[in-house]
């Protein structure tokens, strides 16, 4: 499964668990407009670390804030190289 597909699947899963309605996902959609609140995003990142073995947002010294869904996916794809 591609990284992007895993992320999309987990987004849907976390949204279900957190009782959130997920907006139709596009790369330029602001993450905070996706229907996930910050707790849901924090949970998603922890879940993805379990699945993908990496957390691109807290692994380094600086903290990168992804603004869009595209940024979010890219952070994982870049980490995979």
């Amino acid at each position: 499964m591609s990284i992007k597909l895993t992320i999309m699947e987990q987004m849907a899963q976390v949204a279900r668990e957190q009782g959130k309605t997920l907006a139709p996902l596009r790369d330029d959609l602001a993450l905070l407009d996706s229907g996930l609140d910050s707790l849901s995003i924090a949970v998603l990142v922890a879940r993805l670390e379990d699945r993908l073995g990496t957390d691109p947002f807290t692994s380094g010294e600086d903290v990168h804030f992804p603004v869009t869904v595209g940024d979010f996916v890219k952070a994982y794809e870049n980490g995979a190289h």
């Binding site: 668990e17 957190q18 009782g19 910050s38 707790l39 995003i41 924090a42 949970v43 990142v45 922890a46 879940r47 670390e49 379990d50 947002f57 807290t58 903290v63 990168h64 804030f65």
Partner: protein
């Protein structure tokens, strides 16, 4: 209203108690307690310790126990050094407590101490050449188990330490065992219960595997056994647990959740099972023996067994004659103006009971919402396949922190899919029982969790 305090007799006077021979056991030796009534473990040096400020720094618990029995009522001040205290703090402790004698049990330890006198304590009891009368009310100093900085020295008296120990009303043979180290408050309570109650005591030895310790407890016929919930969870993982059948099972030092109480009930259907609440500073608060987690709300009405309790800002406060009188060389006040000690243990009322939810300092802040790791662990531990769990914070740029759970299963899952299934079940259990910010963001199945020398689950400071 003032009540007269009944002085506990010096411990040596209790050495002759008991209707049958009783012993202190560790892995290497056994000592007949009655031999101490007219004997000494200090090689004729007892008189030199009269009125002194003594650090008991032996490597074994057994020699510490012997020194405590001999020096109560003789030394001005006794400090018991737990084995896990950072050696770098020794100088400060010795200076602040004005230590002039150190008791050791290995010759090589003498070099560690720059004090006027080092005395050796040995488990082979020699004749007490000259009787040294008990002339003083000895200060008993215990060290706090904080993870950073120099430990605080907490001042007790034997009378206060023994305040919660009821006189025995039966002559049944009693053999105490403990997973604790007796050089900390929880273990010292068991040491005193054994010595004052005319019982034998089975001590653990450093580095001894749980299975070997359980085998020794079985061999000496343990009837009363005490430890933290973490100690008990570890013991329940050992097949040797089936060899012991204590009449009394006691938990203290950590929150006893319903799952561990139920597991112990299943393992020891005939035993009386109690969980006790105590702290080094506040002393013993209470014991609960109805098999349920938490404590009845009526414990807060008036004094129970001489202990008054109240809750302020969510934390339990206690006032009793079992509390410490203060700290040595430390400015912090141990009690508030009203005489109550703030335990820092947070409680929550549900129905007619109070439940411990965690430590004030252990709160995880998730996007401004608070979570006590222990309340989440209590839910996770309800899953039938879970042996123990640890909830810890992890940094998150989105919420400041999130809660992560490390879980030990009773038996390893044979397949990865099974493990994923258990994780999902645990998460579902948490979602059912907890508000969504308290549900762990992720669960890791781990082979074991570290238990600190205090017997408590090792939580990172």
């Amino acid at each position: 209203m003032k009540t007269a305090r009944i002085e506990a007799p010096p411990l040596r006077h209790c050495a002759a108690l008991g209707s049958v021979d009783r012993f202190l056991f560790d892995r290497a030796v056994q000592v007949r307690v009655a031999d101490l009534a007219q004997g000494t473990s200090l090689g004729g040096r007892l008189a030199d310790l009269a009125g002194r400020s003594v650090l008991i720094a032996t490597s074994s618990q057994l020699t510490s126990a012997l020194a405590l029995i001999e020096l109560d009522g003789v030394a001005r001040r006794l400090i018991v050094l737990p084995p896990d205290v950072d050696r770098a703090h020794l100088g400060a402790l010795i200076a602040d407590a004005e230590i002039d004698v150190v008791v050791v049990d290995e010759a090589a330890q003498r070099a560690n101490y720059d004090v006027p006198l080092c005395v050796a304590c040995s488990p082979s009891i020699g004749p007490l050449a000259r009787h040294v009368p008990a002339a003083v009310r000895t200060e008993w100093i215990l060290l706090t188990s904080g993870t950073t900085g120099v430990p605080k020295m907490v001042v007790h008296s034997l009378t206060g330490l023994a305040a919660a120990i009821a006189p025995r009303t039966d002559d049944d043979v009693m053999v105490w065992g403990t997973f604790y180290d007796i050089r900390r408050y929880g273990g010292l309570q068991i040491f005193l219960r054994a010595v004052l109650g005319g019982a034998s005591l089975i001590l653990s030895s450093a580095g001894e595997p749980v299975a070997d310790h359980l085998a020794r407890l079985a061999q000496h016929g343990v009837t009363h056994l005490s430890g933290t919930p973490s100690h008990w969870r570890r013991a329940l993982m050992s097949p040797e647990i089936g060899r012991i059948s204590p009449r009394y099972v006691r938990l203290s030092g950590e929150i006893a959740d319903q799952a561990i109480l139920d597991h112990l009930r299943a393992a020891f259907p005939q035993a009386s099972i109690g969980h006790a609440y105590a702290s080094t500073e506040a002393g013993v608060g209470f014991a609960v023996d109805d098999g349920r987690a938490g404590f009845p709300a009526f414990y807060l009405d008036g004094a129970h067994n001489g202990v008054e309790m109240k809750i302020v800002d969510g934390s339990l406060r206690l006032r009793s004659s079992g509390a410490a009188s203060g700290y040595v060389a430390h400015r912090a006040a141990l009690r508030g103006d009203d005489g109550f000690v703030d335990s820092g243990d947070m409680v929550e009322r549900r129905g007619d009971r109070f439940y411990f939810v965690g430590r004030r300092g252990g709160i995880i802040n998730i996007g401004g919402l608070k979570v006590h790791p222990e309340e989440v662990e209590a839910v996770i531990n309800r899953h039938p396949q879970v042996r123990m769990s640890l909830v810890r914070p992890k940094r998150s740029p989105f919420t400041g922190a999130i809660a992560i759970a490390d879980v030990v299963l009773k038996s390893a899952c044979p397949r990865v899919e099974d493990e994923a299934g258990v994780k999902d079940e645990i998460l579902a259990l948490c979602r059912n029982a907890l508000p969504r910010h308290k549900v762990p963001a992720a669960i890791s199945i781990v082979p074991a969790l570290a238990v600190a020398a205090t017997g408590k689950l090792a939580r990172r400071a």
